[in-house]
Every structure is written in C-alpha cells, then in structure tokens.
C-alpha cells in the first residue's frame, strides 16, 4: 500500500474558536490505492468534513494547527506553498464534491460555463476546445447534452448534483472527495448517482473518498471503510468484512442502529453523545459510551493492526 | 437576561464598543446630572433671559480654559457691590444724607475688559437721590462720569456712553478708563481701580446701593454668546434634549416600521400591497423639504418636529428590509408549528416574529439615533428650531446669524459641533460593534 495514490499520515487540523480549540482532525492516517473507493463513516461532529478540507487544504482563517503528511503519488504536498498547491494539486489531482453542492451552483451562469471554468483556469485551453471535454464529462455523469445551455435553477436536484460531479471530474483528477453527495436527494435519485459513481470508478481509474453518515449507501461504492469518531479514525477495514462483522465497539453499535429493509433485526441505539471536539476526554474517546470498556481504556489506544490486515483503535484487540 | 449578560461579555472584545458605550454612558450621565441640577424651568429662564438674568455675563466671552491658549492674561468679570463692600452714610446739616461708597477692584490683566456697567438701586418715596461718580485709575488719574438721578433701578452702561467717549477722546470708553493715558505708551494700566460713588439722599428713609460690573473676556466653561447667555446652559441642556430626541425618534420609527411591516407581511394580499406602495411613495417624498415647510408654515415646536419626523420616517425603506426578513420567517417551521397548536395571527406576529427580528434591529436602531440628532440640528441651523428650547443646533444657528466665524468667535461654533460629533461617534461606534456582535458574518475573528 505504500506506493499507492494517496497516503495520509498523522494529519491534524485544529480550529481556533471563541470557545476554545476544536480538534477536528486529530492524527488521521490511512492510504488509498488507485481505482479504489474509501468510505469514511461517521456522525455529525466527528470531523469528517474537516478531513476533506484538510486533504484539499481548503482552510478557513481560524486555523490553529495544520500539520501532518499528505503524499499524492509519493510526493508530499504539505510543504508546497499555496500557489503551487493550487496549480498542481487542487482540482487537477484531487477534487471535491461538497455537501449540498447542488445549491452552490452559480445561479447566473449556464451550467456548461461553470463546468468549463476549471479547464480554462488550470489548463489554459481555448473555450471551444474545452467544450469538447465538457461534453464528454456530461455524458459520463449522465446529463443530456441539451442541458448544457441551461441555468442551475432549471435543473432538478439530481441533475444539479450530477453537474457538480462533472465539474469535479473535468480535469480528470486521480482522486475525488465526496462529502455527503446524496444526503439531500431522494431514494431513486440517490440510486442513480451511485450508479454513475460506480460506472466512473469502473471506466476511469479515478479513486473516491466517500464521506457520509449513510452506511447503507456507502456500501454501494466502498472497497474500504474507515470509521471516524471524535477526530480520529477508529477502524479501517475492507468493505466485505466490515459490513459483515465490524470490529470496533462503535462500528458495531453504528451498524446495529441502521434499519434494514430486508430483515427484521432489532434496532439498537447508542446512548449519550459524542464528545465535544474542544474538550476531549483522556484515554479512548469512545470509552464513556462503550459497553465493553475496561481498565485499560483510560489510556489512549493506538491504531492496532490485526493479523488479517484490518486496523482498529481499541484495546480489545491488543 | 442571560442573553444580555452574554451579549455584554461579547462586546468586551471590541474596543470600539467599549469606547462607544462608555461615551454614550457619559452622555447619559451628563444629561441626568444636568436635568437634576438645572431644572427645566430654570434652564428656560436662563436661556430666555430678560431682565436680571444676563446682567452679569459678558458679551461674546470666550471659555475660561481659553486662557491656556493665550499668552496674555484675559480679564474675568469683576463685580463689586456696595452690599458686600459696604458704604458710609453721613448726615448733612441741611437734612440730606450723603452716601459714600468706594468700589475698588484689582485689575491685573493684559487686555481691556469687554464692557463696564453700573447698577444703581435707590429706595425713596418721592425724591430721587443724586449720584456723583468718579473713576480713579491706579496712577491717580480721575475721570468724572455723568451725574445720575437713579430711579429704583438704574442701569448705566458706561461703555455705551457716547458723550463720555467723545469727552475722553478715545476709541472706546474702556480704552480711556484703563489706559495709561497720553503719558503712557498705550499699554494697559494694571493695579487697583476705584469707582467713587457719592450719593445725596433727600429723604430720611432713602437708601442707595451700587453695583459695578467690569465685564471680562472669559466666562464659564463654554463662554457666552452675543446676548450674554452662558453657553454652558445650552450645551448641557442640549445633551438630554438631543438624546431624547434621537431616542424617541429612533424608537418611534423603528417600532412603527416593525409593526407595519409585520402586519403587512403576515396578512399579505391587499394590505401588504398598499403598505408597499405607501413606502415607495414615501421614499420619493423629499423629507427635509417637507419638514422645512412644516416648520415654516405650521409650527417650530420640538414636539411637532419629532412627530413629523416619526411619521415621515415610519414608512421608510426600512420596511422593505424588515419585510424581507419577515417573509422568510413566515415560512419558518416554528411558525408553522405555532399555527398547528392554535396560535392566532396577532400572537404570532408579536410573540413569534417580532422577537426574532429585535436582535437584528438593535444595531440599526443604535446607528439611527445620531441621524435623528443631526436632523434636528440641521433643522435648527436652517432657522426652524424650537425658539424656546436650547439645543445645539440652535447654538449653531445663532452663531451663524451673528457671523461668529467671521468675527473669530470660534468657540461658539466648535463647542456644539464637538458635542454633536461626540454624540454621533459614540452611537455609531456602539452601533457598529453591536452589528458585528449580532451579525456573525461581519466578524473577522
């Protein structure tokens, strides 16, 4: 896995707020191969959106700590200055589809003009030449070509999300981050978009990081699954084994709380709330809510590599 | 309540808020102190003046602290009164009585006094006393004033005595009275001066008192105007008036605008449409012109102006802003919920929509206050101010009418202008800080 597409080591992103320092991303390490899709699962407030921002260096002004190592195709991009990063990495190698992005389309531009923008900016192409690529990418995501001249408000939610996806794919990046891409969409539209993503993954060599709280939908795309809790990754595993038998107590509870359409298993819920990212408890961050806690949980567990190639941050697997 | 405290704590972060609020607080304190120490009727009396009030103030005197800027010692007003310094009464063999008083004073200043005046008050039944006045300079020179037969009150403006001036062959009476005369080099003579008052009383019960006022060139903390009025009265009293005016206008306008737009938005339909049309028409009306016309043809009373301003500003474009907010609020889930549990229209408007808007209002409200204060000042400068009540704008008007700037009486203009600016700045700073507090998007942190 070391010569993979993306390697993230001890990535940290802390924000300064009036209430204190929010440790949104607190030492995240994982890697991703080409043509792979990683699902990052977590609930609201676990820091997963900040993780996306940290990888793409889309930082707000109140950053307190931002360090770690992010290697793209072996090259560490953290030391690059802002201009280099913008030119060489952001959007051309890694792009992002943000949460509710369909609401972020510019209402006064035609959708084709929006999608063409990265081409004009990054690759210095002429408008007409770039249009050919736009047509290709529209077809890839399944937007009919006669929609190119329309404005955002003339499209349905699902169509808009596809346009945003097209915008993320237009420079043929190696990795696309998707932050809750389907949470605002209906069931059928959601299924459609997941189909599109599946196809793109198969036909091109694009990798995906899918950040979501919707566990069922994540299984549509994921080859690997990472679970995030309170700023840390608590489990990294391949999809097949994760969905069958998750290791970390939190992952287990999470899976048990997802209602299944096709069987009648009793649903469980996790009492309590996740810790505030400002005042993190000592030791294992899930311990206060964990039914399997024991004495050692007062110490912060490291990421433990199991024999069968999975990773868990839990003393139970020592 | 807790919201207020957290709000105050947040405000501490902004230095401009602290400065602004401190200044506002000081202005309020000043108003309070003024109102308590100089009652309203007293203020009006001091400002309207008339007999007795302005007698002892010099005309167009600079503030006392002006001395700091001048190398020459400027004279203060000196009053010598026989009731304090005493007099001698001697009976004469022919049945008359002679009163002798010596009104003495020190004059250590570098500049001439602005005027000299003498008040004689006589008590008698039928025959008026006869008074001989002699002015003695420190160098022994004597100048005889005209003889007077005072009635009960006799005001003798020595400075305006033309015959005296001609007789003394001087440019002004003061020059002659305080000058060293032809012998000196025109420099002012310092030392002890004396006015000898010799009064002949013809009745056994008659009496005579004399009061000499040597008017200075500096007076009080604010100086005086061309009518001898102490400006500090107007400046001090102008504070509560300006604040009250600004506050009432801002409050009235805001409350009415709010209620109108809330009702219009909630009930929709024709009510909303008519309110919008009224607002648009009002926006095109020339407000200041209308106020000028009201002032000229109807009344210049402060209260009438206040009412007119509120009425004209009620239908301002603020309504459109509030309407935008209310329109989005109208669809808010909690309002929907309120309808399902049976809340009526008025309850929803007053208890669910308006409270939501109030935090956004507060900065706008605070920043609007100086606007109204300046509006009142502008109207006064145009000559439409309330004739009885002392306001800062009125001072500026008087200054303009008396050509204060041309004549070098800068203090008359600068003092009210400074207070207007301080008021404006303090509310503006507080308002902008409040705006940043209530509108998180404006923050830079």
């Amino acid at each position: 896995m070391n010569n993979g597409l993306l390697q993230v080591e001890e990535l940290r992103l802390h924000y300064r707020t009036t209430q204190g320092v929010v440790q949104a991303v607190d030492g995240v390490t994982f890697s991703l191969a080409p043509r792979q899709a990683l699902a990052v699962l977590g609930e609201s407030g676990c820091g997963k959106s900040s993780l996306a921002r940290a990888i793409l260096r889309l930082l707000p002004r109140n950053v307190e700590v931002y360090d770690g190592c992010v290697r793209v195709n072996g090259l560490n991009v953290m030391p690059l200055d802002e201009e280099q990063f913008r030119r060489d990495v952001r959007w051309s190698k890694i792009s992002i589809v943000m949460q509710a992005a369909m609401n972020a389309l510019n209402p006064v531009l035609r959708v084709a003009d929006q999608v063409i923008e990265p081409l004009l900016v990054h690759q210095d192409q002429q408008h007409d030449a770039a249009l050919a690529r736009v047509r290709d990418v529209f077809q890839m995501v399944g937007v009919p070509l006669d929609f190119m001249a329309r404005y955002a408000f003339e499209l349905s939610g699902g169509m808009r999300q596809r346009v945003v996806l097209a915008m993320a794919l237009v420079l043929n990046p190696s990795l696309v981050l998707l932050d809750e891409p389907t949470s605002a969409l209906d069931v059928l539209t959601q299924a459609n978009i997941m189909n599109v993503l599946k196809r793109i993954k198969k036909d091109t060599s694009t990798s995906f990081i899918l950040i979501t709280h919707d566990i069922a939908t994540s299984s549509e795309l994921a080859d690997q699954v990472a679970v995030m809790y309170a700023g840390q990754l608590v489990e990294i595993s391949d999809a097949a084994r994760f969905f069958r038998e998750p290791l970390h107590p939190y992952s287990q509870k999470l899976m048990a709380s997802v209602p299944r359409l096709r069987d009648d298993t009793k649903l469980e819920y996790i009492p309590g709330r996740p810790p505030s990212l400002i005042a993190l408890p000592r030791g294992c961050r899930f311990a206060p809510r964990c039914l399997q806690r024991f004495a050692k949980c007062d110490q912060d567990p490291p990421m433990i590599h199991t024999e069968d190639g999975r990773q868990v941050r839990c003393w139970l697997y020592e | 309540m807790t919201a207020l405290l957290t709000g105050l704590r947040q405000l501490r972060q902004y230095p401009s808020a602290i400065i602004g609020l401190t200044m506002v607080f000081l202005l309020l304190l000043l108003s309070l102190v003024t109102v308590l120490t100089i009652p309203y009727s007293e203020a009006i009396r001091l400002w309207r003046g008339g007999a007795g009030v302005w007698d002892e103030s010099p005309e167009l005197a600079r503030p006392t602290w002006f001395q700091l800027f001048s190398a020459r010692k400027l004279p203060k007003t000196i009053i010598v009164d026989t009731r304090q310094s005493g007099k001698e009464t001697a009976d004469q063999p022919d049945g008359t009585r002679v009163v002798n008083a010596s009104l003495r004073f020190e004059f250590p200043y570098d500049e001439l006094p602005s005027a000299v005046g003498l008040w004689l008050s006589a008590t008698y039944k039928e025959a008026q006393p006869f008074v001989i006045l002699t002015w003695r300079k420190p160098n022994g020179e004597e100048v005889a004033f005209e003889e007077r037969t005072p009635q009960q009150t006799d005001r003798y403006f020595v400075s305006r005595d033309e015959r005296l001036r001609e007789r003394l062959q001087a440019r002004s009476v003061e020059e002659a009275l305080f000058d060293a005369g032809s012998r000196g080099n025109g420099a002012l003579l310092r030392g002890t001066y004396e006015l000898a008052v010799e009064g002949i009383l013809f009745e056994p019960d008659a009496d005579l008192e004399a009061r000499l006022v040597v008017y200075g060139k500096v007076h009080g903390i604010a100086g005086t105007d061309a009518q001898r009025r102490d400006l500090s009265v107007a400046l001090l009293w102008g504070t509560p008036i300006a604040l009250m005016f600004g506050l009432l206008a801002a409050v009235g306008t805001t409350i009415f605008s709010l209620m109108i737009s809330a009702a219009g938005t909630w009930f929709g339909g024709r009510l909303d449409a008519s309110i919008q049309r009224l607002t648009e028409i009002n926006a095109m009306l020339p407000g200041l012109t209308l106020l000028v016309m009201i002032g000229m043809f109807y009344s210049r009373s402060l209260w009438v102006m206040l009412l007119a301003i509120i009425l004209l500003s009620m239908f301002s474009l603020g309504i459109k802003t509030y309407r935008a907010i209310f329109l989005s609020l109208k669809e808010a889930p909690y309002i929907e919920a309120a309808r399902t549990y049976g809340a009526g229209s008025f309850r929803i408007i007053f208890r669910y929509m308006i409270p939501r808007v109030i935090p956004m209002l507060i900065p706008a409200f605070v920043t609007a206050i100086p606007g109204f204060v300046f509006l009142e000042a502008s109207l006064s400068i145009l000559g439409l101010g309330d004739p009885d009540i002392p306001t800062w704008g009125k001072l500026l008007f008087d200054a303009y009418a008396n050509e204060a700037l041309f004549k070098g009486y800068y203090y008359w203009v600068l003092e009210p202008a400074a207070l207007l600016m301080i008021t404006g700045m303090s509310f503006a700073m507080s308002g902008f800080a409040l705006d940043r507090m209530f509108n998180p998007r404006l923050r830079t942190a």
Partner: protein
Amino acid sequence: MKNSTLLSVRHLHTWHELRQRVFGRAGSVRAVDGVTFDLSEGETIAVVGESGCGKSSLAKTILGLYRPTQGEIVFQGQPIHAANAATLRWYRRQVGFVQQDPYGALPPFMNVHRILAEPLIIHGIRKAQREERIREVLEEVKLVPLTDFITKFPHMLSGGQQQRVVIARAILLRPQLIVADEPVSMLDASVRVEILELLRNLQSAHRLAVIYITHDLSVVRHFSERIFVMYGGKIVEKGRVADLLRNPLHPYTRALLRAIPDADAANAETDRDVPPGEPPSLLNPPQGCRFHPRCPLVMPGLCDALEPPEFEPEPLHLTLCWLYKDAKP
C-alpha cells in the same frame, strides 16, 4: 374488531394556486390529487414518497394548515375541511405536529419552559395546571432532570434533545393523532432509533394514531403498521407493512424497494435498477396513470389514457394500477 375510525379522508385535493402571470395561463400545483383513506385509533401509518410527491402537503392539509380544494376530512365525526373557528380550535388540540427540522421547529428566543407553555396558554390552561403538565410531558420524553432542561434555549440542546422538545410540545394537549413529517431525517443515525422508539412508546402509552411521513422505507417497517406509497399527488399503494414488503404491487413501489440498499459490500459490484426519468410535474401531470412515462410494465392505450381506479388484489392491500384490473375493486 379493530379500533374505531379516528380520521376519515375522502377524495382529498389540495391544489396550490400559482400567481397569475402576465401572459400564459396560471395553473395550480396539484399537490394532493385525490387521496382517500381511513385511520383507526392508535394506528400508525407511514406515508412514503419522494420529494415533490405531495406528502408534505397532505400532512399540512390534515393539520389544517392548508384548506383543501376539494374533498372531506372527518375527524371523530367532525368535518374539518369546512370547520368553523370553534371546531378548528378544538381540532388543534387533537392533532400534534412533529416537524423535520428540530432546531427550526423551536423558537430560538424562547427557552424550553416557554416553548412548552405556549400551547397551554393559548388554550386557556391555568398556570398551576400548566406547570404540572409541562413537568409530566418532559418526563415522558425523558428530558430529565427537569431543572437541567427547563431553562435551556434550543441552541444549547443537541439535535436529539431538540426533537424531544418538539415531541413533548406535540403531546402537550393530549392529542389523539400525531403527524410526524420526517421526524428523524435530520438527526444522526444513532439518534434516530432512540427518537423513533420514543415515539413508539408514547404511541402505545397513549393510544396515539400516528401519520408518519418519510422517504426512508427502511425505517418504516420497524415503526408502523400500514404503508401508503405516494406518487404524483396520489396514494398509489396501501397495505400492511409485511404484505407490501413481501409483495409490492405497484411498479413504483417495486422500483423504490429495489433502489434502497442495505449495508452489504456486494452492493458495490452491481448497478441498481432505477426507473428512468424524473417525478412528474404536479403542475401538468401526465395523462392517465401518473407513473406511466417511467413504468417498465406500461400498457400503451390504457395506462397513458385513463387514470386507474383503486384495485384490491389482496385483502387490505390496495393499489392504483391497471395491472390489477382483473382483481376486484
């Protein structure tokens, strides 16, 4: 037999008028276009559909927020669709509303105590009784200890706690019916189950009927007895949960069920079968069956010309689909 009928809806239509345009005809958005059903005391039904199918409008019409354009709503024998002010006032005490957005549903400038006092004040409950009722209700939704929560403002509570306050407010006046519009879709996965269980417990404790509007079919099977599938302003399938999931009759229902994933790694291998096209415009619905442009089993000449009536192929399992024209209506 079953409990008595609480709510009876017949041929309900709610059309929203569009504002007159200068040129062209103004139309109406036919959000609810002919809905008929009965709800028994203490029963939970789930109304499932995607955005734009009219389910929210249906909920709001039943709540009395919209006036129906046509049709009847009868609650405990009282006609609500044409109610006078007094009847409406009485009705408001009988129906509680739980909304989707827990934060938006609570006035941000009122604390919990105030929020809960409002409905009681409006309906003239005296102070002493109000305090007691507020305490009762907070205990029922398990926001304890009371003193912790009574003075808090909405923004100080978590999403789950906010929704509990909303539920508490909904049951304050001892309603017989709760309408819940997507009550958990804005909450985290692990909190959803908690809230749904709470609703379930309240329902059995007070014999509440619940109309549960959602687009999440996976949740529905655990928390309701009957399912109504809504499409294009109409209820295209009605049935008991087990029946519907075992044997979905309407092609749209089948498409919905096929499109919903359960967490399983094998999903990544295959594409999902999704009907092409978009949900129908409620302004200009297609002629005949609303689903026919996207239906894989469309019968030309029939489905695109005539609107299907309701058929009952299985007992208590009804559908609006020409495929079942031979079943007894």
